[in-house]
């Protein structure tokens, strides 16, 4: 027989109360750890998703909006850029590549990105990880599409099927480009970036769709072809730019210089995606801290539940405490047993919370990947987990102090009298 055995039997005797209290600690610890691990993992995932683009040009309202719209498909970019402007920018500097993109259409809620073949051959959605085709091939001619992995899973489309795109981002409200069926020619491997949610096609087909709308409004009949396109139809919404770099290096001293040069053109917005993600982090960081604070608050409330559970049990335990004292156990040792009991609840709940956070983190990561194509790798920092675990145990120990004081003050002789 030892003190720990006494504590364990006491916990077992109140197994329901102990389990519920441990559960509340587990949820609090899991919540806190999941928030801490997803906090950094989330931003790493955003950084990862910017791919090999050095600069992004669009006509959005701000650089951050430009990045969110053009790279993360948050919303269709509102303002177009002319093809002439694209050519002007491309010829203004010896870029490694300058890839035009156009967004605005969708298929069942998944954004459509019309682009040039270089998007698949030169741009890498994740640094060091080029595009790979899982099934079929990349679009080569007009009215062909290939699907990002999430879009393919979400739509259930297979290679060879025909689809009709919708004008606008919504799945229900835009009008359908019914005259121009697209053929699914390929499905891409998952990249772990937002591009997995996209449907890709060529620029000319997209221009033809919108030129057809224009021509219909002008009262012209018959299907529109490439020959009918005018300069006003050749619109894009973004330009992905990469400057030449030395082998093995991703950076270039010219990036900032070229960024400043492009920024002088007030008709466009230019962004360095990596910088904008950092900016987003600084903006969202406060909200993020709020969530962590909420996690801490939940942990404290679980400490209060430990206090209440032990406090409420003290009335029925007075006789047990009196007997232990009568047997010769000092007050301090009985008090220590109560605090140890609280600490064990904290430890048990904390360990369960760590396990729960690992499971929860994986579940959240799977959900983020499925919903927005964001690959988040919840990385449970062992040191952070140990600190939170130790915090839970200390908090539980503190919660045990008041019940322990009650135990300390239990009058032995009074509680050894036979019940009336």
């Amino acid at each position: 027989m030892n003190d720990l055995r006494v504590v364990m039997v006491s916990l077992k005797a109140r197994s329901l109360s102990s389990a519920v209290t441990m559960g509340s600690v587990a949820v609090a610890v899991a919540l806190l750890l999941t928030m801490l691990s997803l906090r950094s993992a989330g931003f790493q995932a955003f950084q990862r998703g910017t791919g090999t683009t050095h600069l992004l040009v669009s006509a959005d309202s701000s650089p951050l909006v430009a990045v969110l719209n053009n790279i993360f498909y948050a919303n269709p970019p509102a303002n177009p850029i002319s093809w002439a402007k694209y050519n002007e920018i491309r010829s203004g500097f010896p870029y490694a590549w300058a890839i035009p993109t156009q967004q605005g259409d969708s298929f069942r809620g998944f954004p459509v990105c019309a682009t040039a073949p270089e998007f698949f051959t030169k741009f890498e959605p994740v640094r060091g990880e080029p595009w790979r085709v899982r099934e079929g091939r990349l679009p080569q001619g007009n009215f062909e599409i290939c699907l990002g992995a999430t879009a393919a899973a979400g739509t259930g489309l297979r290679v060879g099927q025909q689809v009709r795109l919708t004008h606008g981002a919504g799945s229900d409200h835009g009008h359908e480009h019914a005259e121009y069926p697209y053929t699914v020619v390929g499905i891409l491997q998952p990249t772990g970036s937002a591009h997995d949610r996209a449907v890709f096609t060529d620029l000319e087909s997209s221009w033809i769709l919108h030129a057809h709308d224009r021509r219909e409004q002008e009262g012209k009949e018959g299907l529109t072809t490439a020959a009918d396109l005018t300069d006003a139809d050749r619109l894009i919404t973004g330009i992905l730019l990469r400057l030449p770099t030395r082998p093995g290096s991703d950076g270039s001293a010219a990036i900032q210089q070229q960024f400043d040069t492009l920024r002088r053109d007030t008709s466009i917005v230019v962004a360095q995606p990596a910088q904008q993600i950092d900016r987003l982090r600084s903006i969202v960081g406060n909200v993020d801290s709020l969530f962590v604070a909420l996690g801490v608050a939940v942990l404290v409330s679980s400490g209060i539940s430990i206090l209440l559970a032990l406090y409420n049990s003290m009335a029925e335990r007075r006789r047990q405490i009196a007997v232990l004292r009568a047997l010769g156990l000092p007050r301090s040792r009985v008090q220590g047993m109560i605090i140890a009991e609280a600490c064990l609840i904290g430890l048990g709940g904390g360990v369960a919370g760590v396990a729960l956070s690992v499971i929860g983190g994986l579940a959240a990561a799977a959900m983020l990947k499925a919903r927005i194509g964001l690959v988040v790798q919840p990385d449970l920092d062992p040191r952070g987990a140990m600190i939170v675990l130790a915090g839970a145990v200390v908090l539980a120990g503190c919660a045990g102090i008041l019940p322990a004081v009650l135990a300390y003050r239990t009058p032995v002789a009074d509680n050894l009298r036979p019940a009336a």
Binding site: M1, S10, A13, A326, L327, G328, A413, L416, P418
Partner: protein
């Protein structure tokens, strides 16, 4: 009181002990001694302070004046933690309602006393099982709550003598029993104390118990103020 070569001649030695509760009830014990292995009955009607005197001897209450020595140790002058140590090692307690811990097994209830006395844990099981077997408990692993009243009383006796105490204090151990069971229980306690070599100071108001003890101490003259 120390005898020849400093050997303690009494297991209990009280002189001019005074204790008063806030309620006004008080005890004054001018002198009381109990020899090694001796048995004594604290006699008196309910409320005359028998239990209070037992708790004083157990070190659970502290007297305001006088000396109280148990097994050669001055309890009246000790800090509470030291009184706890003496109680754990030198005093066994038997209560009217047994006061076993219901969530623990019979064996664990006995081992609890050994733990409190600081006996090495590796010997707890053997000692507890041996004592329980000698008192006729065949299921030491049974939870105390599942034992009959008679079995619980035997476990309580085993717990009281587990640490080979010099003095066993019994507070009305037969008060809730019928006459036949009361006699049997008292015999059990007396036998256990005799075998353990412990003195027994037993509080009771049962006249049938007077003849079972070597001495009968009437506590009525000790009472001062309002009876408890």
């Amino acid at each position: 009181m120390r005898g020849y070569h400093g050997r303690v001649s009494s297991v209990l030695d009280i002189h001019n002990l005074r204790f008063r509760r806030a309620s006004g009830f008080g005890l004054h014990v001018p002198s009381l001694q109990l020899g090694h292995g001796q048995t004594a009955l604290l006699w008196g009607a309910s409320g005359t302070g028998k239990s209070t005197l037992l708790w004083l001897v157990a070190g659970l209450l502290r007297p305001q004046a006088g000396t109280l020595e148990v097994a050669g140790e001055r309890l009246d002058a000790m800090r509470e933690s030291d009184r706890d140590r003496i109680r754990a090692r030198r005093i066994g307690l038997v209560f009217q309602t047994h006061h076993l811990l219901p969530d623990f097994t019979a064996e664990e209830n006995v081992a609890m006393a050994l733990m409190a006395a600081g006996e090495p844990e590796r010997g707890h099981r053997e000692r507890a099982r041996g004592l329980l077997a000698s008192l006729g408990i065949e299921r030491p692993e049974a939870p105390a709550s599942q034992l009959s009243v008679g079995q619980q009383q035997r476990v309580a006796v085993a717990r009281a003598i587990a640490c080979r105490p010099a003095l066993v204090l019994a507070d009305e151990p037969t008060a809730s029993l019928d006459q036949a069971n009361a006699q049997a229980t008292m015999q059990l306690i007396l036998d256990a104390c005799r075998q353990a070599g412990a003195a027994l100071l037993c509080a009771s108001h049962d006249p049938a118990m007077r003849d079972r003890f070597e001495r009968v101490i009437d506590v009525t003259p000790f009472v001062q103020g309002v009876p408890a």
